[in-house]
């Protein structure tokens, strides 16, 4: 008999151990998003007219759009600390924090046996 998954969520996953890589905040970085959908989404495939490239995550703009861009109202500002943050991250990288590394089972939870069914 193949055991089917439960018909409703059997968990919740109430306990997890943190992944072994820091959040941006923990790495001393702050997030800067362009308010322009186009500039974000087209970063995936390069600017119009550019040849296709399979690897575009690293082809993002190096500078923010001008404040006068139409989406200024939705821009999440804040990256004044990026350079310092990068330096901070370099330090963090040199000596990874063991307490922040996943060990053993990545996610620990107690399944509710009553939620499982068999057929």
């Amino acid at each position: 008999m193949r055991k089917r998954l439960a018909s409703k969520p059997a968990n919740p996953r109430s306990q997890i151990s943190l992944p072994g890589y820091p959040t941006l905040a923990a790495a001393g970085l702050s997030l800067c998003l362009s308010g322009s959908v186009a500039s974000c989404m087209f970063s995936d495939i390069g600017p119009a007219g550019s040849p296709p490239s399979p690897y575009r995550v690293d082809a993002l703009p190096d500078s923010p759009p001008p404040p006068s861009a139409p989406d200024a109202d939705v821009r999440v500002t804040m990256d004044s600390g990026v350079d310092a943050g990068t330096a901070a991250f370099d330090s963090a990288l040199a000596v990874p924090d063991p307490s922040n590394m996943a060990g053993g089972e990545p996610y620990l939870f107690v399944p509710d046996a009553g939620d499982e069914t068999t057929d």
Partner: protein, 385 residues
């Protein structure tokens, strides 16, 4: 604002897992298309994505071309208020001719998603034509034509219990095509057993090995949803209710002109409970609010879950696919999401521990973090409005 136009229910393929229902021919009328575009522009969006969906939208290249012309000419008349426009094609990749190449080519801003499930042995198990013949060969030939014409494309692979263990093979076959990025889409309408989830876990292990090796070679390949899962950790998650607004900033139009929150909900256009208006009467805001409230009831289930801010349980169309009900999920989603999150975290942790330069550059050093860009950007906009 995302406007999805389902140009027809008809399709030249008969994929075994298709959720679209019967493939009857009911092409969208040009007048319906124009009213839909007008309705989207009436919202005065700062950005407008016009997405072609089906059935198979490239059965009607003439209507696609007419849509492009109408959108571009209408937007141009808006002067300084004109939104940034992007077009999106969702195609099975079997119908690429000279006319289609001309439509998709730069400088027009087109993102093209092509469905390819992996090598022929995997792809052709489900994606067949009306005669039962596999479509992989035709698609690969057409992808070569896209590359030759410098037309970027992304690949979408459906992940099912019968190919979950073979995701390493899938990844290899897809990377060969040099896509802009890859998306793995779990089939939530099919039963997943504990064994098939174990297969998924193992298959993702093979896939992430290939992914990590690409990083180690200096190649940053965006693979969804792994990329997104890493971002949800880096950004410390996104609160569930803010992620899917269920037609709050997007809607899909059936060939009949009826409006739905999402193209995946249209099916045969016969489920009144999901209709949120028409191109003639506009969006039914009260109906939409009811559906949004129903969708957000998932929070009652997911609130205690430590993974909720990294999970897709908020997505209305996924709820619908899983249970046929908004606001309700089941353990299939929990297990599949956990597999993807664990695989993403394992890869990221490994690459960081190794000090992989391309991984660090991609995820930690950019002034403009990719951050699934558009998703978070829209999130902010929704939040403000």
């Amino acid at each position: 604002m995302e406007l999805t136009l389902v140009l027809d229910h008809a399709c030249n393929l008969r994929c075994g897992y298709c959720y679209g229902g019967k493939k009857f021919s009911r092409p969208m009328a040009a007048a319906t298309m124009k009213r839909a575009v007008d309705l989207a522009l009436a919202q005065q969006p700062a950005e407008l994505d016009v997405s072609f969906f089906g059935g198979e939208p490239l059965l009607h290249p003439g209507l696609v071309e007419e849509t492009l012309t109408y959108v571009e000419s209408t937007v141009a008349r808006l002067g300084p208020l004109q939104p940034q426009v992007r077009f999106v094609m969702n195609t099975n990749g079997t119908l690429v001719d000279e006319q289609v190449l001309a439509l998709l080519a730069p400088p027009r801003r087109f993102t093209t998603f092509v469905s390819l499930d992996g090598p022929a042995a995997i792809h052709d198990a489900h994606r067949v034509d009306q005669g039962g013949r596999g479509s992989c060969g035709r698609i690969e030939a057409n992808l070569a034509r896209l590359r030759k014409n410098k037309i970027p494309f992304s690949l979408v692979a459906v992940v099912r219990p019968d190919n979950a263990r073979r995701l390493g093979e899938v990844m290899q076959a897809l990377l060969v095509q040099q896509p802009a990025f890859l998306t793995l889409t779990p089939d939530l309408r099919t039963p997943w057993t504990e064994e098939s989830v174990a297969d998924l876990r193992a298959g993702l292990g093979d896939l992430t090995e290939i992914w990590m090796n690409a990083f180690r070679r200096g190649q940053v390949v965006r693979v969804e949803p792994l990329h997104g899962k890493i971002l949800t950790h880096l950004n410390e998650g996104i609160p569930c209710p803010e992620r899917c607004t269920l037609a709050g900033r997007a809607f899909a139009v059936a060939p009949s002109g009826r409006l739905y929150p999402c193209a995946q909900m249209i099916g045969e256009d016969d489920n009144e409970t999901l209709v949120v208006g028409s191109v003639d009467t506009g969006l039914d805001r009260a109906r939409l609010l009811d559906l949004q409230r129903a969708k957000d009831r998932v929070e009652e289930t997911c609130a205690p879950c430590a993974l909720r801010t990294r999970c897709q349980s908020h997505c209305g169309c996924q709820q619908w696919a899983l249970t046929g009900e908004l606001g309700r999920i089941n353990a299939t989603l929990c297990d599949i999401e956990e597999c993807f999150i664990a695989a993403a975290d394992r890869a990221a942790s490994t690459l960081l521990t190794e000090g992989c330069p391309s991984f660090i550059a991609a995820y930690y050093r950019k002034r403009f973090h990719p951050a699934a860009g558009a998703g978070l950007t829209r999130l902010r906009r929704w939040h403000k409005t």
